[in-house]
């Protein structure tokens, strides 16, 4: 079976879709002759030319804004922000414009754009080349946010994003680009946006993770398997809108939740995931979040960076604490209640 790295899968998705659909336009900094600083667009400039593979000035606002305009005209722009750390200047066009255009015009206009960016640490980039930004964007109804962790999903989710009628932010963990290799189907396929995947089945606890942390979580789960602890690992894949069904089904089974992300803990995605579980009343013990501590950035110094990023060892420790916790609630005679999908919805007000 053919194996690719994540970056090769991204490149294949872009190339295949550009060949299939000439409305697809790639734009960003250094995406042309250089092929992108991570080589995601390597070869596209030679293959499709400067008209469809556009080197933009270092101006993130207009990169996003032009993508909005192209999408409104019916093209399929795929904009790249070189490092997620530089996305703030594009925020108004993503959260303020792209996410709202369909809604604010009652469907008269739409904004089918894709914005890809490389996020995450572990690469000695320091505070401005390592950040996670998903929390800011998962809070913007109208926008979809995906974060693949495997090569197959990197290709399938990116193709799905390029065909989606709505704006999609694609967060690619830069450490997965070369470190993660795996089977990738040839040819055309999509991985549906909005669906999580069970990366590893288990019954003692559920880990919810994505990006590089999915792989660290899987490694922790492997170690724990040797110690007789059977952990389920859910690869979220889409961060907004969340696949509540898959998440809550897993939690209903294991009754124990550990969220893992690289982003800082307070108001990170783990907050929503814990809230979801609490509202749905599916946990027997308090949930655990394994995340960056609340500090302003990831330090570049080797020792310091390694100390702040979650990894298989800290995840394993958290899981050991989690499964060791005494059940703090009884289920009564009837056993655990089944998850009632209506409950959390009911807490919103329409």
């Amino acid at each position: 079976m053919r194996e690719l790295t994540v970056i090769e899968a991204v490149r294949e998705a872009l190339g295949d879709e550009m060949a299939r659909d000439e409305r697809v336009i790639v734009l960003g900094e250094d995406v042309g002759k250089l092929g992108g600083v991570f080589r995601a667009t390597e070869g596209l400039y030679d293959r499709f030319g400067a008209r469809r593979v556009i080197d933009m000035p270092m101006a993130e606002t207009v990169i996003a804004g032009v993508a909005v305009g192209l999408a409104m005209r019916g093209l399929r722009p795929v904009a790249e922000i070189q490092f997620a750390d530089f996305i703030h200047a594009a925020m108004d066009h993503l959260v303020g414009e792209a996410a709202k255009i369909r809604w604010r015009t009652g469907g008269d206009w739409s904004c089918p754009m894709v914005l890809r960016t490389a996020y995450g640490g572990g690469f000695r980039g320091g505070p401005y080349h390592s950040q996670s930004v998903e929390a800011f964007y998962a809070h913007a109804p109208g926008l979809k946010v995906v974060a693949p962790s495997t090569p197959a999903d990197a290709k399938g989710l990116l193709i799905a994003a390029m065909r989606d009628p709505d704006p999609v932010l694609v967060l690619e963990h830069k450490r997965t680009y070369r470190a993660i290799r795996g089977h990738v189907p040839e040819g055309d396929y999509v991985v549906p946006i909005g669906r999580a995947a069970i990366a590893r089945e288990g019954s003692d606890a559920t880990v919810l993770a994505y990006g590089m942390m999915l792989h660290e979580s899987l490694a922790a789960a492997e170690t724990l398997a040797g110690e007789g602890i059977d952990v389920e690992v859910v690869d979220l894949r889409t961060l907004a809108p969340l696949d509540r069904e898959t998440i809550l089904a897993s939690l209903t089974k294991t009754r124990r939740l550990c969220v893992v992300h690289e982003d800082t803990i307070t108001m990170g995605l783990g907050a929503e995931l814990c809230a979801l579980a609490a509202e749905a009343d599916v946990l027997d013990v308090p949930p655990v979040r394994v995340a960056m501590p609340d500090i302003p950035g990831i330090p570049v110094d080797d020792v310091l960076e390694d100390a702040v990023l979650p990894n298989r060892a800290t995840i394993r420790d958290a899981l050991l604490r989690l499964v060791a916790r005494e059940r703090s609630r009884s289920h009564g005679a009837a056993g655990p209640r089944a998850y009632d999908p209506a409950i959390p919805q009911a807490s919103s007000i329409v």
Partner: protein
């Protein structure tokens, strides 16, 4: 302009003024939340809208672009639906307040709140024209306050690099709400900005519809011919407060504004371009249209809460 273009222009100027007057009075009377007057600005939009190919070219409008929209075919009743924020308004569907124009059918890009984010959308639209090679041009309009945002810098630069078929038009009324010109930019006009990006700049009297049409026609035809973007600095006077929520006597001398209005009103000046009887007849007609539109639109239903999440996603 040809004689028939002048008549078209006059009709739009007159109708814009009639609608503007009514909206102001209705808002002040508490019958609607919010009026955004366009008086003093009308000739700018009429100038470029008459120069545009309707249904072909695209407009990313300034929020004072009511007159341009009328030229491009927006019916007065739709304007008033927008004004009353009714869900049946094709512009903003009861979701955005007045002056957030937008219509796919009329090739008018949807306007947003943060000014002037539509500038880069317009550039993207023009890039679409270049990629699709369909010969269309995008006019991108914004205020002189808006021109000070980074958005405009990045947009003009990109348009110049790629010789995109678009025209940037600044409605330079010298005010950003309460803030006077000298606290917004250090130059007299903004036309010198054009050279900084390597594009031609044209300074024009934006209260002279004929002059405005000449400038816009030149810029639009250059863009259509592949000659790239132009910056038009169109001087005008904002006759009214910023919006119906604003009290401009706090920051400017109303007598000065009234004097400028008396001498420069684009509607009065445009009367010289058409037959006096024609003008008088049009004014009667547009007054009736505006009355009808206001009355009809106000009677349209408010929103249905069950629909509020519709169109969040496709």
């Amino acid at each position: 302009m040809t004689a028939s273009e002048r008549e078209r222009a006059y009709r739009a100027l007159s109708l814009a003024r009639a609608l503007d007057d009514r909206m102001w009075r209705l808002a002040r009377a508490g019958r609607a939340h919010f009026a955004v007057p366009c008086s003093g600005h009308e000739a700018i939009g009429v100038g470029y809208a008459v120069a545009m190919r309707a249904g072909v070219d695209w407009l990313a409008p300034h929020y004072r672009d009511l007159a341009a929209l009328l030229v491009l075919g927006m019916p007065p009743r739709d304007v008033m639906l927008c004004f009353f924020s009714r869900p049946s308004d094709p512009n903003a569907r009861g979701r955005q307040p007045y002056a957030h124009f937008g219509s796919r059918a009329l090739h008018v890009l949807s306007q947003q709140g943060p000014q002037p984010n539509h500038c880069s959308h317009g550039v993207g639209c023009a890039w679409g024209s270049q990629l699709l090679d369909d010969g269309s041009v995008t006019v991108i309009a914004f205020g002189d306050g808006g021109a000070q945002k980074g958005e405009v810098h990045e947009s003009m630069n990109v348009a110049a690099i790629h010789k995109l078929p678009c025209v940037f038009v600044v409605h330079r009324n010298g005010w950003t709400q309460s803030v006077a010109r000298e606290d917004q930019y250090a130059t007299e006009t903004l036309v010198a900005r054009a050279a900084g990006y390597g594009m031609p700049g044209i300074a024009v009297d934006g209260m002279d519809v004929e002059a405005m049409h000449v400038a816009a026609s030149e810029a639009i035809e250059r863009a259509r011919a592949g000659g790239g973007p132009t910056l038009i600095d169109a001087a005008c006077v904002r006759f009214m407060p910023n919006t119906s929520n604003d009290d401009d006597s706090r920051y400017r001398d109303r007598a000065e504004v009234d004097a400028l209005r008396a001498s420069g009103d684009p509607l009065l000046r445009a009367r010289a371009l058409v037959d006096a009887h024609f003008a008088a007849a049009v004014d009667v007609e547009t007054a009736a249209l505006a009355d009808d539109a206001a009355e009809w639109a106000e009677a349209q239903p408010l929103g249905n809460p069950a629909t509020v999440a519709d169109h969040t996603y496709a």
